[in-house]
Symmetry: C2
Subunit: 102 residues, 2 copies
């Protein structure tokens, strides 16, 4: 996957992305969960069983999104405290919210 232009103005991750390890772990668990639903579908399991699992993954994905947003928020706030440029930081936060909640 190619890197997007937005990485050019990201804040330094080493300091700010404190939750990154937890986010990777959650995504790994979601990936495994989706794989197990795929197997259930292959095993001709009941639609109701599949729907319960799809709803569970959706909920896990929303929580993971919230964690990414929280991570971003922490980074933005730390950057604001350092740079004093709160207008730019607020703009970044709004952009992140727009990307996640449509």
């Amino acid at each position: 996957m190619s890197h997007s232009p937005s990485q050019n103005h990201r804040h330094s991750e080493q300091d700010h992305h404190l939750q990154r390890k937890r986010i990777v772990n959650r995504l790994a668990r979601i990936e495994g969960h989706v794989r197990s639903i795929k197997q259930m579908a292959l095993d001709e399991r009941d639609c109701g069983d599949l729907l319960i699992q799809v709803a569970a993954v959706r909920s896990a994905l929303d929580n993971c999104g919230k964690l990414i947003l929280k991570d971003h928020l922490e980074g933005c706030v730390m950057e604001a405290a350092k740079s004093g440029n709160e207008q730019e930081v607020l703009k970044q936060l709004e952009e992140a919210l727009d990307k996640f909640i449509r």
Copy 2:
């Protein structure tokens, strides 16, 4: 993963689960998409980029859920036409909706 009691009163899948192959394909694509987001997180990619991809997976998952529901609906309607027991079929449909939409 153990089989749930609900498979005992499922309708015969060979006839009714017409969308099953499409559902499996979509779940495989979603699984790959989640894996690529996990890799983005490992590569220290920007939070905004991650959020866009998480929102895309959520949307794909919702569409997959709709397809499962549609598959179930088709099976229920075919069963109703065969058995004439529309009360039982309507109950099954309501249960499926409750499982997916909370």
